[in-house]
């Protein structure tokens, strides 16, 4: 799977799609592969505050429970309620239907620190090298 160029990426393998003042957040294809089959998704509630670099929820796979970190600071506008019944969407379509939450951005300038798709792919190559 290739990494969509319209997304911005974190070192912790989350992505954000910024449209106006709202960012849609999910995990990358690399992250879903590493986690394995996702069996449970725990997300914040709309209205909750999230902070860039801090955990906003957990993804549970058969292997482990892992924190997911917010790429941006802001207020949660919506979460992907379908994941309650279909957590496998995170595995099947991590950059699309498997999105986790939408955040009203508190500070757009933050997104400048995030990686573009090609930088993220280079980062993955470096991380994989022994």
């Amino acid at each position: 799977m290739s990494y969509p160029t319209e997304l911005l990426y974190t070192k912790d393998h989350e992505w954000v799609r910024v449209e106006g003042e709202v960012g849609t957040v999910g995990i990358t294809d690399y992250a879903q592969k590493e986690l394995g089959d996702i069996v449970f998704v725990e997300l914040p509630r709309p209205g909750d505050a999230v902070t860039a670099g801090e955990s906003f929820g957990t993804l549970e796979s058969v292997k482990a429970v892992s924190d997911v970190f917010a790429p941006v600071t802001g207020t949660v506008e919506a979460v992907n309620a379908k994941l309650q019944d279909q957590p496998e969407m995170v595995n099947a379509d991590p950059h699309g239907q498997g999105w986790l939450m939408r955040v009203r951005l508190a500070n757009r300038a933050e997104t400048e620190k995030l990686m573009l798709a090609d930088t993220y792919e280079t980062y993955l190559q470096e991380a994989k090298a022994p």
Partner: protein
């Protein structure tokens, strides 16, 4: 390919129906004699609690019940059945003499509400067990109350908080290495602290520079396991604890891996302020199943006032009493004085071995783990390559190239008659295979285990698909773990 299995124990391959499925309408386990008193109305006597019948209640004979549960009992795999190399769990032999001692009339039949003058023997056993654990850990005071390791951790962190609060500021964070046991962050969170992760260095140990950056005035202390979950000894323990102490923090040691240290090194000597011990790991009390567990906490003198209440004291006339007058205590953490029977067994083990015997168990445990590491390193990847202590961590890196992961190898190991090792932990090792043979394993048994893992590595080279479908010789084939987690069926229905 199946002829490869040389060491497997015979499985009784038939699956067992549920007792509900064996039911025959009208069948009775016992025939009651005719009633020789006037009949009473159960509905009148029991009111709303009365039921005519229980829907789906199995109707079976006594012998069917006996056979059903006896057959199920033979499915158990335990330390008494074979090697149980589950890393970080210290699944060692539970000596039968412990059971004999715990069943002595005076110990087994005493009542927890017996008045102190009549419970002097039991109090002395507890006092003596605590004294031995203090000597082994180098600490000054011990409470045997916590019922298991994680409760010991919780008790310990609450004591840290109480101590720092009295000094003026309980602080906000606790540092935990990224190799830590999963219970550590849980205990910290339940105690009201927040976690800050410490990234390990390339040796898998604590990075002093990283620790120095993280150990600020907001940090209550460091919670670490030594040897760590890679089975590697933190050689800079002195520097680590000096740094934490200099910044006003405390050092908590998770005693899960004490099987690598008993009789050789004492946590108090290398700077730990408090710790818990797992009697069901290190001190041969039953581990699960026949448990319960026991997770005593051991502390230095300055933390003694915060120990759970009551404590056991020896008076000048040689008698013992429970002291409930402990204003600074974090309170009671367990009914009565913890799981008394476990203290009896642990004391029996400690006294039977003595100092030299305990030291030898440690040396044998370390030797066994290094033997496994040395004999598997040419077929499995060693992510942190250095001598280990009581457990070793390999990885599935070479096998993953053929699509076979640590969990698949573990399942194939079941076909060879062994309990799997710990898979996918510690988290800092990709595809971890964590093996802790303990001192209980003989060289013959270790050789069988090693040959099994070597044989599986060959199978993966020849036919990875075969290993991916393991286990092949068990009653049920590979379970759908993902399906079970996503769509669990929690209740049997006809």
């Amino acid at each position: 390919m199946k002829n490869r299995i040389r060491t497997a124990r015979p499985h009784v391959n038939r699956n067992e129906a549920l007792i509900f499925e064996r039911s025959t309408p009208g069948k009775r386990g016992v025939d009651l004699p005719p009633l020789d008193v006037p009949p009473a109305s159960p509905r009148e006597a029991l009111g709303d609690s009365y039921r005519e019948a229980i829907e789906g209640f199995p109707e079976v004979s006594e012998l069917e019940v006996v056979r059903h549960f006896t057959r199920l009992s033979t499915w158990n795999y335990g330390v008494d059945t074979g090697l149980y190399p589950l890393g970080s769990c210290t699944m060692k032999y539970n000596p039968r003499v412990n059971e004999a001692v715990a069943r002595l009339e005076g110990l087994a039949s005493d009542h927890p509400y017996a008045p102190e003058p009549l419970a002097q023997g039991c109090l002395e056993v507890l006092h003596e067990t605590a004294r031995c654990l203090a000597e082994i850990s180098g600490m000054d005071a011990v409470s045997l109350q916590p019922a298991a390791g994680a409760q010991g951790e919780l008790t310990g962190i609450l004591m840290m908080r109480a101590c720092l609060a009295e000094r003026g500021n309980p602080r906000q964070y606790i540092l935990i290495p990224d190799s830590a046991h999963g219970t550590n962050p849980a205990s910290v969170t339940i105690s009201g602290y927040q976690i800050r992760n410490l990234k390990s260095n390339e040796r898998g140990c604590i990075d002093l520079a990283e620790l120095s950056r993280a150990m600020t005035g907001e940090v209550a202390g460091l919670m670490l396991t030594n040897p760590n979950t890679l089975g590697i000894f933190e050689t800079q323990m002195r520097e680590i604890s000096d740094l934490v102490h200099a910044r006003g923090g405390l050092v908590y040691m998770d005693g899960a891996n004490m099987n690598a240290l008993i009789g050789v090194a004492r946590p108090a000597d290398f700077g730990a302020d408090l710790m818990h011990l797992n009697l069901h790991k290190t001190f041969t009390t039953p581990h699960g199943g026949g448990g319960p567990g026991s997770g005593p906490v051991a502390v230095k003198t300055f933390l003694e006032p915060y120990l759970p209440s009551p404590t056991i004291e020896k008076l000048s006339d040689g008698s013992f009493r429970l002291n409930h007058d402990r204003p600074k205590s974090v309170g009671r953490v367990r009914a009565f004085y913890g799981n008394f029977g476990m203290a009896v067994r642990a004391l029996a083990y400690i006294l039977a071995n003595g100092a030299e015997g305990l030291r030898q168990t440690t040396e044998d445990a370390v030797l066994n783990a290094n033997y496994v590491l040395a004999r598997l390193r040419d077929v499995y990847d060693v992510p942190y390559d250095q001598p280990c202590l009581h457990e070793c961590v390999l990885s599935d890196r070479r096998q993953a190239a053929r699509g076979v992961r640590t969990g698949d190898i573990a399942k194939r190991l079941i076909d060879y008659g062994f309990h799997p090792y710990t898979t996918s932990f510690p988290l800092i090792v990709h595809g971890a295979m964590m093996i802790e043979p303990t001192e209980s394993a003989s060289q013959d048994e270790l050789d069988e285990f090693i040959e099994a893992l070597r044989s599986i590595a060959e199978e993966i080279e020849e036919d990875p698909g075969f290993v991916l479908k393991a286990p092949h010789t068990t009653r049920v084939a590979r379970l759908d773990e993902v399906g079970a987690a996503r769509k669990p069926i929690l209740r049997w229905k006809p």
